[in-house]
């Protein structure tokens, strides 16, 4: 239920490949550990990631639509999305136009999501609300509803570029929106809190919240993902600690 992510402007093919290897086999001394759910990269690295992950169960997610700001024309966003999908992306992470949303132009935002969804074709669409910029929980609820109505397969809290990123209250609001949407339409939507979840203990709190709000069904990589690369190492550290009985050091785990 974990997405490994590298979204730095200084990313290289080498770094993406390295991350992909870690995605398939998170820790060498724990060969039985399952692979992560997906690797999330910029569109220009999709083919690199796809190649590095071939033969594994790990999916490739690409951020598109002028990530992280979303400040571009619809035409450019759609072409970017199309291109990423053609390159082989299994999932598209789009950002909403927060400026338009806050200005009350909900139709604009909704149409944009619907248009991107159309371009995605078979790829799953994750809609990033960037909750850190939406100011209020009411807005977050409204944006969640809007994204789901417009065709999102997943809703995601943040890009990871803006603080605050994912928090428990924000995630709860979004989970409740998913629950109500499910009751109304019978359609299941996935949830991805991203950024700011660094420890296994915090991750456990999120899992409890998902279980309590949406139920056991959502506790699967198809419906719930953590977007937090730092979390991966803390999980590994805790797993090794459980096996050896000795507290671990980050020195012994790969950084990327």
């Amino acid at each position: 239920m974990l997405d490994l992510t590298t979204l730095d402007a200084k990313d290289t093919d080498g770094k993406v490949k390295q991350l992909c290897r870690k995605a398939i086999r998170p820790h060498d001394s724990l060969p039985d550990l399952p692979s992560v759910a997906a690797v999330c990269v910029y569109p220009n690295f999709v083919s690199t990631a796809k190649e590095a992950l071939s033969g594994s169960s790990v999916k490739v997610a690409a951020v598109a639509t002028a990530f992280p700001s979303g400040m571009s024309t619809l035409k450019v966003k759609l072409r970017e999305t199309k291109w990423a999908v053609n390159q082989g992306a299994d999932e598209i992470d789009m950002v909403i136009s927060r400026g338009k949303f806050l200005a009350g132009e909900y139709d604009f935002v909704s149409d944009e999501i619907a248009a991107v969804k159309e371009e995605c074709g078979p790829a799953h669409l994750k809609v990033i609300l960037e909750t850190g910029e939406l100011s209020t929980l009411d807005n977050i609820r409204k944006a969640s509803d809007l994204a789901m109505e417009a065709g999102a397969d997943f809703i995601k809290t943040s890009t990871g570029k803006i603080q605050p990123a994912a928090t428990l209250p924000v995630t709860l609001v979004m989970l409740e929106a998913i629950r109500d949407f499910y009751y109304r339409t019978g359609k299941k939507i996935g949830m991805k809190p991203a950024g700011g979840i660094a420890t296994a203990k915090l991750a456990l709190q999120y899992l409890v919240m998902v279980r309590e709000t949406l139920g056991q069904e959502w506790l699967s990589p198809d419906w719930f993902r953590f977007g937090a690369s730092v979390l991966a190492n803390d999980l590994l550290r805790q797993i090794v600690k459980e096996q050896t009985g000795v507290y671990q050091s980050f020195d012994y785990f790969t950084k990327d």
């Binding site: 050896t244 000795v246 507290y247 671990q248 050091s249 980050f250 020195d251 012994y252």
Partner: protein, 313 residues
Amino acid sequence: MTDKTIKFEKRSASDESKAIEGVEQAKSSRLNVLKTYKIYIDGKFPRSESGRYYTLESAKGKAIANVSLCSRKDFRDAVTAARAAQLKWASATAYNRGQILYRIAEMLEARRTQFIEELVLQGSTSEAAQAEVETSIDRLVYFAGWSDKYQQIFSSVNPVASSHFNFSILEPTGVVGLLAPEENSLLGLISALAPIIVGGNSCVLLASGSKPLCSVSFAEVLNSSDVPAGVVNILTGYRKELLSHFSSHMDVNAVVYAGDSDDEFKTIQQNAVSNLKRIIRFSPKNWYSPECESPYRILDCQETKTTWHPIGN
């Protein structure tokens, strides 16, 4: 203008004696408040997360304080804090670290009577207590002086048979665990701690189990003397409970053992095999001896980095 002079009425002798009687009565029914000596982690004074404590008795068998009985998790929290603080402490200038050590000595000097009282309470004679506190202060000043000098003494330019400028310098080992001695609970602790932190390491230390008062009061001194939070973390509790965790924790880079038990040291050596941490035994017979004042104590928790720098012929 009206006369605003306040006049104090002289109290009668009977009023006076009534007041004294009241105080006497209150005294006889008063319960002493035992100070809970809390631990010191990340610049804060929490209780043990386990909620456990033990009651310390004076040499005469009277309860004198409640002391936190630390758990493995307290130790882990302390290591996390020490790790977070270490890099910044190491990158502080040597001059600044020296100043801060000197500041600790100043603050200790200001509270010397309290430390003497605590040592006496734990069975020391007043002469011995005074000598211990004074030597402790002097020792801090001694190591403060070394802060911007040990690097020059131990670094070197090395002759090599190629066109390289080859030099070796010292870098701090990192997070150091310190098991303080049971006796000389103040002097022993400071003699072992000062060389660790002056070299840019951060430290998690376990105080003397039978005489912990000074170490906790020393934490209060550290807290008021510009030592950044997390650089020194002080735990109290049973050594037999915590010993193996000090030596097996992967994120502790070195353990300094200042106790006097060969068995305990052997346990540390065995546990350290799994993580290759540096282990140092520093158990002088006499904490006043000259061997305790040596720059080699600083070298114990330093790593040598050698650089090959290419040059033209």
